[in-house]
Amino acid sequence: MEIFQQIFNLETFSSTLRMAIPLMVAAIGGMFSERSGVVNIALEGMMLAGAFIAVVVSYFTGSAWLGLLGAVFFGGVFALIHALVSIRYHADQVVSGVALNLLAAGGTVFLLNILFNTSGTSPSVTALPYWGPFKPTVYLGLLIVLISHYILFFTPFGLRVRAVGEHPHAADSVGIDVEKIRYVCVILSGMLAGFAGAHLSIGVLSVFREGMTAGRGFIALAALIFGKWYPFGAMGASLLFGFFQAIEIRLQGIEAIGIPAEFIQMIPYILTVIALAGVIGRATPPAASGEPFEKGKR
């Protein structure tokens, strides 16, 4: 019983929420991208870039809010590369994603060297202030989920996004600019991933550390799939994965449980594979995701 209380208490749930937020927001970003038909495995890199820019802007301006804005803005700029390469130049979207992850990993450390003359950790910067028990990014992150759901299902833009990702030629035939919708969505995904990165670097913490996203972009991708490309689905999956991370910490050292931490760390990935295999209701991606759109071809 005591063990139970150690694992499940209020703090566990606020910890879950804090850990889930970056996954959630990045997953929502991925959702916009994939719903419009562009696979985005560069969430990790976009988050990392966002985390870095947030710290840099906060360092030079002294304002964490500007840091957050900078991360969102630069996340969008960074995603624009993915958009150009994969939408305009019909590149393989997975390859482009791999390249962007590499670019973010190399670029941030290179710039750490150039800007701060260090390889590992940036100087401490002004972080976002607390609003009650949490940082603003937590509330904003939850708000983003709500707004995204509204946009996707209750606005003309959302309808167009869903149409473009399922059947771009149908959208094209009624005069929708497929490429424009995709550009907007991919850039949006970068902005949201940038936000998620900023949450880590100047929300949870106040520094940038080399590789500090530590695979969260890929867990976000898993959450997106596990949530079947729905905003609330992604939110639920993120909370679930965040919860696993929270209890993994709490299970450590409780001898009675005896599960090595490594095996708990695998759970989100295994669950995602199971979800894809259809054991708990098949996860089916938008029909046209991954396919470059070529006008006139079908």
Partner: protein, 354 residues
Amino acid sequence: MAGDMNSKELLKEISIPLLAILSSFIIGTLIVIASGYDPIATYGALLQGAFGGLNSIADTLLAATPLIFTGLTVAFAYRCGLFNIGGEGQLLVGGLTAAWIGTFKGVPMIIHLPLTLLAAMVAGALWVAIPAILKAKLGVHEVITTIMFNYISYSLVAYFSLKVLAKPGSIQTPDIEPSAYLWRFSNVLDMYSYLNIGFLIGLIVLFVIYYLLWKTTIGYEIRAVGISPDAAEYGGISAARNIILAMLISGALAGLGGAERAMGLFHNYRNGFSAEYGFTGIAVALLGRNHPLGIFLAALLFGALSNGQDYMNMLAGVPVDLVTILQAVIILFVAADLLFRRVLALKPEGRKGE
């Protein structure tokens, strides 16, 4: 090598990667200048590190060796219409397996060496088996599942290497037995490099894969499935069977890459075992146009870059991450080859449709 390619097409094929490499180096130069370094010294050091002497050249080949395997990993699956992005995990699992089997004592080399190589291949193949089966039987997209398996492997390999196999007080597994060593060239040549016959195995595998893909019925079937699974089914070729086969071979190649690191370079499994070879393999395959010859050249290029980067850092003081940036930009340019095709007014590659 490719019989069905005339010289004009060949020129077109190689012009895009060359342009991509050139453009990337131009961008690299701009970065170097803007960061306040001397580009001539930078690239000079890079070149010296990569090719300045027997030892450097051997080190470049050593760095290229795992990329040959992981490049083939990606390319072989790609020829069957699959994107195996899990080469990293397969290499780690294969490498750990080789490092474990290699420690078996008292086995004569003639058995031990091939057994260890084989075990690594089997491990790599097994690690991709679930994504392969899910793809073949349920159509689950292999990109996501192989990414997920990468992350599963990181935890699993960490657990087994550190908590099960590692020698006490150490974060590496015990050294393998000499009977499982891949023979090193430094045994007869006066150099430091750990270049070993793993490189030659790589060359042989390049040829074997080429032969398999273009000269045998297995390759005929795998490529047919890659181009058109429906047409293949029509022709009595089981798409599911070939997808699984191609994925298993692909995973085995990655496992072999891990074996070379364990048996030739490190003689054990340790932290930092793979310098993201699996991901660089994607770039190598892409740049090499998924053709064994192209992969060989691309692996040499990336090997030279990753070998030369240390000298670039040591001599010119430029952070090694510049090379990571260069690699990313090369991939972006090769992937966005339409850019160059438009600039050069070449016709785009026929994809699907009419």
